[in-house]
């Protein structure tokens, strides 16, 4: 890299930094807070409904809440609404389990044209796959460590 390239790279980095400084961190955080908080509050309502109205066991309350939220995440993704929630809420839409649902449903729909097996079925795990690899993998380690220390 000669001096001119170096200079260009430096000024580019400065430009990037300037633009980054303008990134609206606070508004982004407020929107993420409202969106994520709202989804979790709906989840709390579902937990209460499962516990008091459906009289489910503790494990089943968790399963019921997960299934219903995943369903609505899928439905809203299918209708193109979750995309809008995501654009507004950012991480507030990505981090709840509805975002996990969105990460499965969006590629499943997007790759439908490649067929239901190598398109939809293969691609639905583009993001859920890594989540399960690291999640399930580390849970096995936790289980083995529990056995080792108890």
């Amino acid at each position: 890299m000669n001096k001119k390239e170096l200079d260009e790279k430096q000024s580019y980095n400065e430009l990037v930094k300037q633009r980054m400084d303008k990134s609206p961190l606070l508004p982004d955080c407020v929107k993420a807070f409202i969106t994520g908080g709202t989804i979790c509050t709906i989840g709390e309502g579902l937990r209460k409904f499962g516990e008091h109205i459906l009289k489910l066991s503790e494990d089943d309350v968790a399963a019921f809440t997960a299934i219903v939220l995943v369903f609505f995440g899928a439905l809203l993704t299918g209708l193109g609404v979750y995309d809008k929630i995501y654009k507004f809420g950012g991480a507030g839409a990505a981090v709840p389990i509805t975002g996990f649902s969105n990460s499965v449903v969006a590629p499943a729909m997007e790759w439908r044209r490649e067929g239901l097996i190598m398109g939809t079925a293969a691609r639905m795990f583009t993001i859920a796959g890594p989540v399960l690899v690291y999640g399930v993998g580390s849970s096995v380690i936790v289980g083995l460590l529990y056995l080792a220390f108890n």
């Binding site: 955080c29 993420a32 807070f33 409202i34 994520g36 908080g37 979790c40 509050t41 989840g43 709390e44 309502g45 937990r47 209460k48 399963a63 809440t65 997960a66 995943v70 369903f71 995440g73 899928a74 439905l75 299918g78 193109g80 809420g89 950012g90 991480a91 507030g92 990505a94 981090v95 709840p96 389990i97 509805t98 975002g99 996990f100 649902s101 990460s103 499965v104 449903v105 969006a106 499943a108 729909m109 439908r112 939809t120 639905m124 583009t126 993001i127 890594p130 989540v131 399960l132 690291y134 999640g135 399930v136 580390s138 849970s139 096995v140 936790v142 289980g143 083995l144 529990y146 056995l147």
Partner: protein, 118 residues
């Protein structure tokens, strides 16, 4: 009161992710992997359940709660069935969410047409 704690803690967990996304170039997919792994670690240490007791769905709905369910399932099954349980427990604890995502994802792909971005 439960609803307020769920809103606050759930919102806060999302804000942490938003800060990571804004300040670093980490992608949302990697955030989900990070959150689930952190959830497994905090769940394995027995810390995350305290947050669940306090915030309910504010702690269980974000992906860290998914990780916590994985760890709790693995510990419970390991206690009952030993090494086999350590392998089966995590998936058992989270089977509902994963199966629901597969079924509804598949149905959505059949029913809905994606809005193609041209």
């Amino acid at each position: 009161m439960d609803y307020i704690y769920a809103f606050l803690i759930g919102g806060l967990l999302c804000v942490i992710a938003q800060i990571l996304m804004d300040l670093t170039s980490i992608t949302p997919g990697k955030i989900l992997v990070l959150y689930v792994t952190v959830g497994v670690i905090l769940g394995g240490l027995g810390i995350y359940d305290k947050l669940v007791d306090f915030a309910g769905a504010g702690a269980t709905v974000p992906l860290t709660g998914f990780g916590n369910s994985l760890a709790k399932g693995a510990i419970k099954a390991a206690g009952e069935r030993g090494i086999i349980g350590a392998f089966t427990g995590g998936m058992t604890g989270t089977a509902a969410g994963v199966a629901a995502a597969i079924v509804f994802g598949y149905l959505a792909a059949i029913i809905f047409k994606p809005k193609t971005k041209k």
